[in-house]
Assembly symmetry: C2
């Protein structure tokens, strides 16, 4: 008998009909003789509806009260799902954050989980109950309601799975699993059977649709095996787990891309120490997250500095840089928001040489010019012109034999 | 500095605009230097909407889960009102049942309050916070969410007022207070300045629009002074409090009526011991509440028995009685749903003689035939033909000088 955590997101529980379907899915798991703990999000659209109510009161709602308000979304779903299960003849109980008790710090609207009390829930599981947990919510040590930030239900599921020592944490979603790349761009993209936490984190830009980065980090920390799978079928999805020897044999696991960044270049800066600091300090102070940074010398005594920021922060960042131009003595500032970052990810890179040059060759063979490069232990990213997005993804998917590889993997 | 509990019902907080108005009303009280604890219902219509959701899952929703579901209604209102107050520059905090802690028994959907923990709330009041309590809800000793049954927010307000030793519990509603009778029927109905708990209880059929019977009983038990007043004006409403000498000088305080009952007569029953029991046992077993009962002997050896039941239970009750007809050897069963119960209420009846005969005379002078009579220490009820409802109310209002009396009272 296994202990299984199943997490269903907002679209999976977006209507009464869908909640009934989820109840059937949960019941099938219970029928196997497994103990099931379900974690649910608010019905799709409900959280936004509640936020609209708050905004009608004030544009700057108090954070403590905002959490009290939005926490009702998951409360509604969990009670409805428990009702549906009880109606089908199962023993079921909804659990709010204050009942489970999922203890967080006091950072309302983006609280961090500190501790989870499992005594009561273990008793209820033992008594044969299906537990339906309201995701996204917790309580601080004084019993104030807190929420974990957007997508927090994934985190609730992983944290609950870790706390009760579940055998697996199944994340139900509207896709079949994690793919080698975006199937909308590359028709021979293949579903991965297994992927490491590290790779999943690097693939976040693609995986964001599937899994929150914070929940993957949490799963990695507490060694919770995740199973990303479809709400609409019983097919096996993708297992996200610890890196193992088999994974290392695969050089590249996936190709991802991110079109949400823009790049800014400050050129012709007299090359003195402290340039980077004087640019990035004010940008960071303005809460703008910088991703890639490249600095190189252009001509004697002058340097160029290029970096990327989220597209929606571009205007703000350009304003800041322009205000610094004079003090930096820079010759100019240019920016470009028609770029894409293409990334290959794979734990096998650690032990395989020549991955980078293979990537650069593949792109250049198809006439794709590389503007920026950044690497980490298990990924290589290239910024190229946005018009090449689909071509670059397909070229790399092909160059690293990802469709082929997975066909083989699927047949194991 | 006074400690004031203010309760606002569903229509008073039925929209964002109305919640903002309630915030202003609460703020005015705080501006006087008073400490304010607010108790709110769900926004009008919200509870019904939630029940409709549950009904879409199953027609027999689990009671524990139903409470988890409907409790979100008050959670939403209390957080929105707290937000509005904070936005206006006040310190405010919402309190759910599990935070206050309002401890109830485990009778989900109709729980009884057992205890209220006021330590934390007293600290927050001391620190200058306006407390906004989600009405209608509590928790059992295990932290399960419970609700107090329809209209439970009144009860929450009275219980909270008792627990924190408030100076007054103001019940805001859409009328100006408690009237000598229904102003829609009797244009010279007057607002009462003061009324005793006992009278308020007897006037429930009229007062039901204003105050739940349970909350008046609770207020009486714990000696909580109620102030029934209008959400839409700053006029003084009606104080509901302990009986005092002044009240006793007034013979009749009000005239009420109830059109929601129907009467059933079983006639020509051979007069043996145990007839009443054999009729009312099966009726009570079917959860039908019997109000008035009259038994009298018609001819030698035979008796007639007449009783009233809620109109919506009439068919069920008649079925039961018909099934008993044979075993009772009764000659017949008749019923009538075109009746009204007209009641005069007043603590002064205890010390004044001749009230009943004055009532009967007044009715008969206008040709109104009395079908049934029932009396208690402080009220007399007569059942008459429903077509006389308005006439009977006006006749009695006049006979006991209620408009005149109140004009005098108002001028004190």
């Amino acid at each position: 008998m296994a202990l299984v955590v199943q997490k269903f997101g907002g679209t999976s529980v977006g209507s009464i009909e869908k909640i009934k379907k989820v109840a059937s899915r949960v019941a099938r798991e219970a029928d196997k003789g497994n103990s099931v703990v379900v974690v649910v999000s608010a019905m799709a659209g409900e959280t936004d509806k509640l936020i609209t109510l708050a905004q009608a009161i004030t544009h700057t709602p108090d954070n403590r009260e905002a959490d009290v308000l939005v926490a009702t979304g998951e409360q509604v779903t969990s009670s409805l799902l428990a009702m549906a299960l009880i109606d089908m003849g199962y023993k079921a109980k909804s659990y709010m954050g204050h009942q489970f008790r999922i203890i967080t710090n006091q950072a309302f609207t983006s609280a961090r989980i500190l501790d989870i009390d499992t005594e009561r829930v273990r008793q209820d599981i033992k008594a044969g109950n299906i537990i339906v947990v309201a995701g996204f919510q917790g309580v601080d040590e004084y019993g104030n309601i807190t929420t974990l930030g957007r997508g927090g239900s994934d985190l609730s599921a992983v944290a609950v799975a870790a706390a009760i020592d579940a055998d697996v944490c199944e994340i139900f979603t509207d896709v079949e699993g994690v793919y080698t790349t975006d199937p909308n761009i590359c028709s021979d993209a293949r579903k991965l059977k297994r992927i490491s936490y590290e790779e999943m984190l690097e693939m976040a830009s693609m995986g964001a649709k599937v899994l929150q980065t914070r929940s993957v980090e949490f799963a990695k920390k507490y060694d919770v095996t995740l199973h990303v799978r479809s709400t609409f079928s019983d097919n096996e999805g993708t297992i996200v787990t610890m890196e193992d020897d088999d994974m290392e044999k695969v050089v590249v696991s996936g190709v991802t891309y991110n079109k949400n960044e823009a790049k800014i270049t400050v050129w012709g800066i007299p090359d003195n120490p402290g340039i980077a600091a004087s640019i990035f300090k004010p940008i960071t102070d303005a809460d703008i997250v910088v991703d890639m940074i490249i600095q190189n010398t252009s001509e004697a005594g002058f340097t160029d500095l290029t970096f990327t920021v989220p597209k929606n922060e571009l205007a703000k960042a350009v304003d800041i840089v322009n205000s610094l131009k004079e003090s930096l003595n820079a010759k100019g500032v240019t920016f470009d928001d028609k770029i894409v970052k293409v990334t290959i990810v794979g734990v096998g890179m650690r032990t395989h040489a020549g991955v980078a040059s293979k990537m650069f060759t593949a792109l250049s063979n198809d006439g794709i010019n590389i503007m920026m490069i950044s690497t980490s232990e298990i990924k290589i990213s290239c910024v190229v012109d946005a018009k090449y997005t689909e071509l670059a993804v397909r070229v790399l998917h092909d160059a690293f034999g990802l469709s082929e590889l997975n066909t083989k993997e699927e047949s194991i």
